[in-house]
């Protein structure tokens, strides 16, 4: 049973006010909800269909934070937290699926093609996750920017608030990280072909 939304909101408020214990209590609640939302979607998903992490996070947000005017800084924090969790959920789900389908024709959990150039089949979540880990090793902040922008759908401004850096920094990080990841995944594909 999920904790009532008001508690989530309270915990969120406590957390943004600096209470780290609140975060510890918040994460399992949010994780459970995100997992529920994602799995719900994945269950109804047909092979070859795609998931949009942003839509999932938004859905979880709407479900969890039933409050009219939550300060948007808080919301950015909420989404920031969701980003990491959502990434984990999607990667787990994709791994589980690959495992289940191994030898059976291999259904790939792709991200929405909308997010990729039309001529390139999308990276699967697992590959993106691997590349992202590489990026994080080199430059943790850029990894975080990608997580927030891609897995939680934060815009540049919100990302800046969540990370406590300027929007310029986020823009530059994002631009570079995209290029780097793109190249990394493309090389990766070439290697495996």
């Amino acid at each position: 049973m999920t904790e009532p939304p008001s508690d989530i909101t309270k915990l969120l408020a406590a957390w943004t006010a600096g209470d780290q214990n609140a975060l510890d209590r918040l994460v399992p609640l949010v994780y459970a909800e995100l997992r529920r939302v994602a799995h719900n979607r994945l269950r109804h998903e047909r092979p070859g269909q795609t998931l949009q992490p942003t839509a999932l996070v938004h859905e979880a947000y709407v479900r969890l934070v039933r409050i009219r005017r939550i300060k948007w800084q808080n919301r950015a924090h909420f989404f920031a937290m969701c980003a990491r969790l959502m990434r984990q959920i999607l990667v787990d789900a994709a791994r589980a699926r690959q495992f289940a389908k191994r030898g059976g024709g291999g259904v790939r959990v792709t991200l929405n093609e909308a997010l990729l150039p039309a001529d390139a089949p999308g990276p699967d979540v697992v590959a993106l996750d691997e590349a992202l880990k590489e990026l994080e090793q080199r430059d943790p902040r850029k990894g975080r920017v990608v997580e927030l922008r891609f897995f939680a759908g934060l815009d540049v401004e919100e990302t800046a608030v969540a990370l406590g850096v300027s929007t310029d920094t986020v823009s530059r990080d994002w631009k570079f990280a995209k290029t780097w990841l793109y190249q990394e995944l493309r090389d990766d594909r070439r290697r495996t072909r």
Binding site: M1, G48, R66, W72, A114, L115, L116, P117, K178
Partner: protein, 873 residues
Amino acid sequence: MTDDARGERWRRVEGLYHAALELPANARATFLDHECHDDVRLRQEVAALLSVAEEAENFLEPVSTPVGAGFSRRQPIRLNADDTSVAPGSLVGQQVGPYVVKTLLGAGGMGEVYRATDTRLGRDVAMQLLSVAFSTEPDHLRRFEQEARSAAALNHSNILAVFDVGTHEGAPYLISELLEGRTLRQALGHGALPIRTAVDYAIQMAAGLAAAHEKGIVHRDVKPENVFVTTEGRVKILDFGVAKLMEGGGLVETRLEATAPGTLIGTIGYMSPEQVRGQPVDHRSDIFSFGAVLYEMVTGRRAFERQRTADTLSAIVDEDPAYAEPSDAPIAVRALHVARRCLEKSPHARFQSCRDLVLVLSDDLAETTTRTHAMAGRRRAMVAALVVLIVCLAVGAWLAARFPVGQAPVSIRSLAVLPLQHLSHGPDDDYFADSMTEALITDLAKISALRVVSRTSVMRYKQTEKPLPQIGRELGVDAIVAGSIDRVGNRVRISAQLIRAATDEHLWADKYDRDMRDVLMLQDEVARSIAREVRVTLTPEEHARLASAREVDPEAYQLYVKGRYFWDKRSEESVNRSIDYFKLAIDRDPSYAAAYSGLADAYVSLGFSFDVGSLPPREAIPKAKAAATKALTLDDSLAEAHNSLGHMKLHYDWDWPGAETEFKRSLELNPGYAQAHHWYSHFLVASGRLDQSLAEGKRALELDLLSSTMNVHVGWNYFFARDYDAALNQFAKTLELDPNYGLAYWYRGMAFQQQRRYAEALADLRKGAALLKGNVAVEATIGHVHAASGNTGEAERVLTALREESTRRFINPFEIALIYIGLGQTNSAFEWLEKAHRERSDLLVYLRVDPRLDPIRSDPRFEDLVTRVGIPR
């Protein structure tokens, strides 16, 4: 390389990358040569990144899609410049099947739209061609085919007509009527439309949607971009690409990304709350979207528009449409009213069909349009109105009255919910159906403007074959709610109908299909629908209360339901069983307030002399109180828990003001809660406020006309008011209703005794004792009557038996004191009354009014006791 060196290198790559991007492409090589000197690997690294910089621009980004008129444009994928298989416009002049392609009208996300001539019929048509690249994607092909299939199934002047489908060199195409005009989005470019135009368009849209809905097709993406207005002013609904056939129960799954992948922003404002939540949708989702479009046509503003997607989503789910300056024109006010009703969060609160919308809007248009100003759209509107009017007459005049524009209000002020029939046959379905019936009653009873017959009264009709008008007469109600409940796995489906009792006239029917988890919300939803249908006004507070249901763990709910079922049987054994179930429900969901409230009620029953009374109050009531308090901590709006707490504060704490506060709070939360009126009446009796108590008792009875408890309670009121004739009369009525109701014999025996009709008194008491096996209080009353009638020997015998019994089980000392009073042994009587005081006997609160205490009333010890119990003067 050290970490520092690696970090340094990384920063250098990034710096060069950004710097190079600032430069024109042809200057970058020179720049890199200069910056990298001999570091070939550094140069390679940066150059490699720069070479893909452009390609990577859209990587991981949501994509907005160019819009082509009249073409399905939700496809998330940009037309790929490298995809030369079908270059835009390449088909011009070619023959495709029987069609000669003439001009390119537009290029959309997944292909092109051409103007073509059908050589066979010599007419111009529109050809939508799906590019080969996309037709290999099963998902796109499916969508394309879906659009073709949905549209082809529909033949309506307000829906884009699809003539043909085929393939050309592997690329599927779709032939539709050629439209000239613009989309509603374009028409809205300059803000609100002239009000008559807006209403005219709305009527046409509603007519088109109605046709689709009647074929079982839900559009699912109604928005201004998908509404086309021809140069003649005819409205055409486009794009059935995500439309879906309603399956069996009329519900289809929906998903955020299926509605607007990649183009979330911009179209998201027209989604219904159920779409936002990813819940199944039916045609009423289209009605919501229609409302959003109508709102925008009338006001020039989007109903839900926020800067950020998440805020827009929240607004759709939680907030009312943006405030719009009311226009002076009555037609605008009404159109806005219609839009707002379409935009209700709950599908059941909206208009229920597009046909209704056509009717209502046509009426509005007709009323405000004079003949001389008749406009093009008006004739159509009138025709539509006429057709619908005939339908309407067939359904009955009632239908007209339910719309906001209708005049005659439906005067339904009282109703009864008949036990829902369960269609599934699981072991628990009987409890489940009963508890849903009860929950519905409880919810409806919260509405102050409605009198709702309580559970016990309607349960008598569980297996009945009686005609509804007769049931209506017996229960004295204007309308009856009947329905069925079906449970398959974790889904629960309720169908309900509202019937006018007097005429057997069918007023409304609806189906609800939900997850078990949402079962509480489902109850509230049904209750609100009914409230709306009978046109009672909910106070904002009542509305909020009905909207506040939370999710519940289905298993915990089941356990709770069983608990209530056993509690209601009110035998010592069944109440103990109910306690087990409530505890299991709490184990399962420790935050489940209602389960605590059930537990409280069960302990109250065990500890209350006028109920099961098998436990000493000192043992039962603290447990009850803990449970009730916990329930209220979890949910302060539980009327049941406030009522239980009031009962305990009265009978156990002797906290008179506190008790009254709780009862009043309970009644404020649920004015139709018979049990709260009943127990508040107990409080008023004990306080000596006998006129008020009788009124409350009668109100409880009115709410639960066939309940034996409420019937007997009114007689019990007369007894304390010392109106024994009235009491005897009421007890007789109760026994007529339920000849095996032991409590009625017991109380009637007490009334006979006061009239010194001892033989009749004893006869009744013996029957009562037989029926209420194990209730020693009745035995005690028999002893008291013997004593009062002078049969000292019998009285002594009973006394001895009871005193002996009291060593083995709990016997209320007050009952024993009564026998001593009958025997005239005042000292012993006070001794036992003192014992009763120590045990916190619940019966002491009635000291002031109980006629059986008259013989000792003048004793100073009596007044002292009254003071210690705190009975108000």
